[in-house]
């Protein structure tokens, strides 16, 4: 059973029950300096282990980049 969602603009099929914490682990060498939004709302770091990606969710995983 997979969950269809978009992560950083890409369509993905994630394992059912994938948490934000797991997703960050896959995408980032370290969770330091990383933030996540789901459907336009920031997901606090303290809840990453509990929040699961739901079907149709748009997930954004961001960090610092050269700019500004």
């Amino acid at each position: 059973m997979t969950v269809a969602a978009t992560v950083n603009g890409k369509s993905c099929h994630l394992a059912d029950g994938t948490t934000v914490a797991l997703l960050v682990d896959e995408w980032c060498p370290s969770p330091r300096g990383v933030a996540v939004a789901v459907n336009g709302e920031v997901v606090p770091k303290s809840t990453w282990e509990q929040v699961q990606v739901a079907p149709g969710d748009a997930v954004e995983i961001v960090s610092a980049a050269a700019g500004g």
């Binding site: 933030a35 995983i61 961001v62 960090s63 610092a64 050269a66 700019g67 500004g68």
Partner: protein, 267 residues
């Protein structure tokens, strides 16, 4: 803490800033080049953009800045609406554990000039949400005052469009902004070389933010050194009280005590 920080402190939101030169990481060509430039500049506050993570990127800008003991100032660069800017600021707060934000909301992607309407809306929301807001704005004294009135901790008017290197296009307006501001004025955008940064400080700005002029210079570390010196020179000149501009001369040597002029000998 250096001497200047003790005798002529630069404060933003109640925090003493060890340096009046802020740098932006935009345009950096490599982490090594950025590191050398940051060290040479003596800066203590550096802006970063907030972007989607790229799994292919190996280096961490956050680690680089942390390693140098430099504070991060996240920037909402690339946002066109207040809604996007507010979300970006909130993401940045979560990512970098700071409630300081450089608020940038642009009107179009050719001029990159700030959209003052969206900027004010976003500034008010973010101030209400507990952020320390440093807005990047145009050189309009009316907008600068409105930003201060909604609670921004500083105002950051441009000298010229981002990356243009055109220097300060309207020194008169910058002076007007400085005169009326009750918060620090940090000239941000358009600086091309050291003399531009020096002029900003002579006009009374509390600090300058430089990105492209350093990161895209042929020798970024050397230009960073020049900017550091220029900011110090401009600040000292501002505090020293310059002479007024005169339409005609004012002799620096007195005419008293001159020997009598030699008269011509009659033939």
């Amino acid at each position: 803490m250096n001497d200047a920080a003790l005798t002529d402190p630069f404060m933003v939101a109640g925090t003493v800033m060890p340096s009046r030169l802020l740098l932006g990481t935009g345009g950096m060509t490599s982490p090594e080049s950025l590191t050398m430039a940051l060290r040479a500049s003596g800066t203590s506050l550096v802006t970063v953009a907030v972007r989607r993570v790229d799994p292919a990127t190996r280096h961490s800008l956050v680690d680089l800045l942390d390693g140098l003991g430099i504070r991060i100032l996240p920037n909402t660069a690339g946002c066109f609406t207040a809604v996007d800017a507010v979300l970006t600021a909130r993401l940045a707060r979560e990512a970098f554990s700071t409630d300081w934000v450089k608020l940038e909301v642009i009107g179009d992607d050719r001029t990159l000039l700030p959209d003052p309407i969206e900027l004010l809306v976003a500034a008010e929301q973010l101030v209400d949400d507990g952020f320390v807001v440093l807005p990047y704005c145009g050189d309009d004294p009316v907008v600068a005052l409105r930003l201060e009135q909604v609670g921004c901790a500083a105002v950051m008017p441009l000298g010229a469009p981002i990356g243009s290197g055109l220097g300060i296009r309207n020194p008169h307006n910058i002076q007007l902004i400085v005169e009326r501001a009750g918060v620090p004025v940090i000239l941000d955008a358009g600086i091309g070389t050291a003399s531009d940064a020096c002029l900003a400080m002579e006009l009374g700005c509390s600090g300058v933010l430089v990105a492209s002029a350093v990161t895209r210079a042929e020798d970024p570390a050397l230009m960073a050194t020049a900017m550091r010196d220029a900011v110090a020179a401009g600040r000292a000149a501002c505090r020293a009280g310059r002479i007024t501009r005169r339409f005609v001369a004012e002799a620096s040597s007195s005419f008293d005590g001159l020997v009598d002029p030699v008269t011509s000998v009659e033939a």
